[in-house]
Symmetry: C2
Subunit: 287 residues, 2 copies
DNA sequence: AACCTTCGTGCAAATTATTTTCGTCTTGCG
DNA sequence: CGCAAGACGAAAATAATTTGCACGAAGGTT
């Protein structure tokens, strides 16, 4: 639990003096993170003990613990509390996107359902064949990424972003297979249809999607991704970044489960690449 | 300049006692960031004054300034300096991947060539047709993402991960078109060939790749991405995350350049989606 | 209305942390 | 061998932080 989340949470219950301290944190973070308790107390027009009590209320052991927590979350957690930097300058745009992306990762990490991820990894590692579904640009990229990560581990996998194909593939799937589908909105009706069909046929399904959404309800295992969306329509959603990271996490866990097989497969892929390129074997597994 | 960079830089010049302090920072960061000067001194088996001197040497004003700097850079900058966190537990794997991803973003941001990005955005915004090339799984995903982002802005774009197609598309491209190619390693010989062909035909080219690589040399504009790679072969590269973010940045800048057109296109796409789904218009532009 | 109780607050003392000063010890060099 | 430079810690000095306590205001109770 980070400090700004706690602050948001406690905001109403703060006393007058404490609110003044909170204001300084929010408005002049740079000052707050560098100030001593005396300076901070002075600026907020309260006594040092009040600052200490404020820190305790926010769940910190002491003022210095508080400062550490503050400095630590600030880099990632801060800018959600501030309004958009409105500029269209490349530097600002870049900073905005990077920050949003880091934030998305931060929030993903915080809300990760590890148990569900483990279950999903178990299923994937044990599947005889995997079908990765996703549509609409974003999720189709994720389906492709699943394939891109998992075939390297020696697993059998195909991906599809084509609704009709998804239905046909589902109809052809066996109970020893797994279908994994991604939907950012959770409202991809065709994916729901495929999952429902799979359920009838007892083919296990995994969804990467929003909690409580139709897609989540239709799947056997849901790995939830619940992130707030930005509202600048020109700025592509940073949720994609979180999904990519989630795919990495799932793929890594699957890798550990199929380790010997994976090592061999990766070695063959690497040899193939090195032979094919210029022999520099520091290069990545796949360009 | 963050504190770990300074530490790397000064490492040789540190005295014995100071190295012991540095070791603690690197190995038991959690301890270091929470400890008082006395505790830290005790653990390093040195006296508190030595710790103070150590902090000063690293460019901090005082011990507490040092702690803030530490906490602040740590969240993102830390783990590249340490060997892999050994565990295969889901929690550790997740944390490792998230941290690496955030790190990749951090490093990307730090090394961004804004001038090159602007040039690239200008070219893309002015192109009559865009060809996005990339192969090998990772870069093909990026090429797909470029298409996914840019078509929404009303631009004409196609992507290809097929080397033969890339050559044919290049041969068919006009001088008013733009070819944009991604290569993580910079050693994709076929992409170099396509770029060379494009140069002969005076079709402008943009590369997202490593500085100084063959691909970079073959392109008119290079948007450099120079990131260290992790070495755990089971863990997919976080560089992908950085590339996705870079695509976002480029796409956002392009969006501002074609704004009226983009707004109209986005509105049409959104209408299409809302009509097609369940009418919840909070949903994303594309699932 | 008088009286509690609770809570927020600051003051001052106590505690704790940090920095400075100063002297010793080591090491490298002429 | 002697000297200078630097590293280091002990102890003193200083600064920061926390604790204990008392006061006063707000709100509730008799």
């Amino acid at each position: 639990m980070d400090i700004f989340a706690t602050l948001q949470h406690e905001k109403e219950r703060l006393s007058q003096s404490e609110s003044r301290i909170a204001d300084i944190l929010l408005n002049d973070f740079e000052f707050a993170v560098n100030a001593s308790i005396i300076e901070l107390a002075g600026k907020a027009d309260v006594s040092p003990p009040t600052v200490t009590r404020f820190c305790r209320r926010l769940g910190c052991d002491s003022f210095s613990d508080f400062k550490v927590q503050l400095a630590r979350t600030a880099y990632v957690g801060m800018r959600y509390l501030k309004p958009e930097p409105k500029s269209q300058e490349p530097g600002d745009v870049a900073q905005d996107i990077i920050t949003k992306a880091q934030n998305a990762l931060f929030l993903l990490h915080r809300s990760l359902d590890l148990a569900a991820i483990e279950q999903a990894a178990d299923r994937l590692a044990g599947a005889e064949m995997i079908y990765a579904f996703g549509s609409g640009g974003n999720s189709s990229m994720i389906a492709g990424e699943l394939q891109n990560r998992l075939f390297r581990l020696g697993l059998r996998i195909t991906s599809s972003s084509d609704h009709s194909m998804q239905l046909m593939l589902t109809a052809a799937a066996k109970q020893s297979d797994v279908i994994i589908g991604s939907s950012f909105s959770g409202r991809n009706a065709e994916l729901v249809r495929a999952f429902t069909l799979a359920r009838d046929a007892k083919v296990p399904t995994i969804a990467l999607t929003q909690t409580g959404s139709p897609v989540a309800r239709a799947a056997d295992i849901t790995v939830p991704v619940d992130l707030p969306e930005g509202n600048n329509i020109y700025r592509p959603t940073s949720t994609r970044i979180a999904y990519v990271a989630l795919v990495d996490i799932v793929a890594s866990l699957v890798a550990y489960r199929v380790q010997p097989q994976a090592t061999a497969t990766l070695r063959r892929i690497k040899q193939q690449l090195v032979a094919h390129r210029d022999g520099d074997d520091r290069q990545l597994l796949g360009d």
